[in-house]
Symmetry: D2
Subunit: 247 residues, 4 copies
Amino acid sequence: MAAPRAWAVVAGVGPGTGASVARKFAQSYSVALLARNPSNYEPIVKEINNGGGHAIGISTDTSDGGSVANAFKQIKEQIGGQGKLVAAVYNVGGRFIRKPFLELSEGEFESGWEANGRGAFHFSQQVIPLLLDAVEASNYPPTLIFTSATAAMKGSALCASFATGKFAMRALAQSLAREFGPKGIHVNHAIIDGVIDIERTKEWLKDAGPDAKIKPEAIADTYWWIHTQPRTCFTNEIDIRPAVEKW
Amino acid sequence: MAAPRAWAVVAGVGPGTGASVARKFAQSYSVALLARNPSNYEPIVKEINNGGGHAIGISTDTSDGGSVANAFKQIKEQIGGQGKLVAAVYNVGGRFIRKPFLELSEGEFESGWEANGRGAFHFSQQVIPLLLDAVEASNYPPTLIFTSATAAMKGSALCASFATGKFAMRALAQSLAREFGPKGIHVNHAIIDGVIDIERTKEWLKDAGPDAKIKPEAIADTYWWIHTQPRTCFTNEIDIRPAVEKW
Amino acid sequence: MAAPRAWAVVAGVGPGTGASVARKFAQSYSVALLARNPSNYEPIVKEINNGGGHAIGISTDTSDGGSVANAFKQIKEQIGGQGKLVAAVYNVGGRFIRKPFLELSEGEFESGWEANGRGAFHFSQQVIPLLLDAVEASNYPPTLIFTSATAAMKGSALCASFATGKFAMRALAQSLAREFGPKGIHVNHAIIDGVIDIERTKEWLKDAGPDAKIKPEAIADTYWWIHTQPRTCFTNEIDIRPAVEKW
Amino acid sequence: MAAPRAWAVVAGVGPGTGASVARKFAQSYSVALLARNPSNYEPIVKEINNGGGHAIGISTDTSDGGSVANAFKQIKEQIGGQGKLVAAVYNVGGRFIRKPFLELSEGEFESGWEANGRGAFHFSQQVIPLLLDAVEASNYPPTLIFTSATAAMKGSALCASFATGKFAMRALAQSLAREFGPKGIHVNHAIIDGVIDIERTKEWLKDAGPDAKIKPEAIADTYWWIHTQPRTCFTNEIDIRPAVEKW
């Protein structure tokens, strides 16, 4: 497939995983980058376009069905009649709220679901028809990856909002993998177990050695590798953690 | 504790598990029974009161924080200054929707969360302060049980709505167990794996033998038994299935 | 079923869980108690018989098929033509070895399997035919319970021997539950997650409060309750932990 | 690291996964291939050496500690003072026995453990010191991969032997990952969920489409990719299945 006509979309683009994934997939595809706040995608859009790649950014609130529909209307116009969407990464995590349960407001509790459940639903409903449409033409099986977390596996104290959201995301990923795997779409739930090494976490884990935080570039490499797995060999759930992580 | 002053509350009372649980706990406690539609709790409220027990019913929409707050205002008035709430069962499951993912409306998808996530949140925020208040006085550790399902463990194809809801419920139950167990509250996530034997399922599994469906009375006995476990021996997750069930 | 003709067998009887389980089941059944060293079962055999119950003890090495066969030859003679074996508890855990992997001898590594895998196999092969034979006559579904541990769910560092044994025990319990559940036998894998409160652990967790250790009597009550669950409502895996336990 | 001095070892080399993994790793490393029966490794040893790579074969019974020690004595001689062992794959699965539990002989039951537990222990004890010795010098983190199966996650009826073995293997892999990850070794438990596409399975799943079986080359690519993950981003468990597989 010629590069200009194959597209990837990444929702939840900030300075960490999202930007790295965008950069990686932009080596092979045009990329559409979604974030609520344009300041989150503008630097990486510019960087990719300046570097000879092709990126667009669209301000999108994934928890709002209309906003997601509008974003995909633009994406489809950009892709045009000859292009295909062959990869989609849902990287929206929402706020991590750590708080005694009885102090959680409804809005705080609900925020985990909004980002990880409802937003993932809207995104999936928009991308899956496009991915299905690419099954025959794509070099690699069209791929839908959800960025998840340890909280998808264990509901810890004080983390009810994030854990309910991530558990729900895992359920959605499993359900979609089982429905659309046989139709040729590769769905993966990626459990990122550890601190991601970004500007905001610069001061974290400083005593734990040089490799105590997960490099976002390594996550991006993993996602790309998952995308390239053939139909005969899909990985539907993957865990990623630093060598030194306790788990 | 004298029977008249110890209370249990059951949310999601219909003809199956809810009524059986109400009947069982009403042998020892006054019971407050919640359902959206009064026709769901009226028969069992009448039955318990006619049989010498004590029950009240309150029309409640658990997905609506105001409705739940209003129900508990009434419950607290009934309990009065001397009573204690010592057991709570969240038995709201919502609709089971089996449908291709791309045909799910936002409302259909969201309904799993509304019943199993948001509703469980509202209920938990109201009951936990009451249960905490009963820790010293109660014969048995104050107990909060969530009725869940196999869908809490596996996201099957076509079941994205129900599975996301039940996964979220499991996350909530784990988070609450870890936060409030050390404070003396027994939180349990009960995985009901099989068809429940009620009027509506009368024609189901007719060829599978007399014990192929779960008797709601047996679920109620299990819930009561969980409630009576001492602080030194809590069960935080239990599975229940007929002997003949495939799993 | 008249008490004198219904039997339970407990393998792995020492001063903790085994003795408590024996005491509990001896309230309803004759009990056969197995341990390698007679000094482990003699006190509880004497106690039960002095208290009006009926117990026998048989020195048995469960890792040795011949020894187990010989024990069951004696048990069958005791049960006689009219009795039935209706409950069996495999409570052998073996040594808990915590050691750097590279320092484990083959014998040390293998000991986890010997107790939890091979021993459970021998015991199961002997008891299952007897339990099957009791399905029609027994008040409660004939029951086979395996005492397991957190190590069945997580392979921690330095615990390779115990974890491989307990994982294997869980696999065996699941396989047996799925094969013999439909034939009327209730198989349960009991995850004991915490320190058991016995003489040997008297000094442990002294600062963690009065309920920080699991009372063996509470485990015995749980096992008895599992045994009484009807065919329509089997629990195949249960976790047990103190309210204050981290998990 | 110069190719001639970096080595990989693969235990359990037959015509399927083992040969493909050998071929893949031989593109970068010298490889030592172990199998009980030399006829299993001889074709691939010859193929690799004829193709410009470097392979040796050693007849080894992994369930026998002496045999494994002897094999590694030869491997260490071949590696010499300047080489390093940087990757190890334990691909021994043993017989898959599907049989009613009560018909299993002790030898049949035990065979699952022998291949997946005891054999994995012997192999791990020999390779881990060599991998530790390579941490500083190796391009990629020294890697130990265990080929596992769905049976590591679920104990099905009639599969007690295989399931106990694979559960034990998973426990061992987790324990080793947690002990040796912080020391720089990447341990992975690979759940192969499906039929592998080899000569022996040629007639299987013929109606399920061209991609219904897992290509061993795809497994080998996955293993190699795991090997290349950096210290900051280890995957400790991976599942692999065909797009059309039910799970």
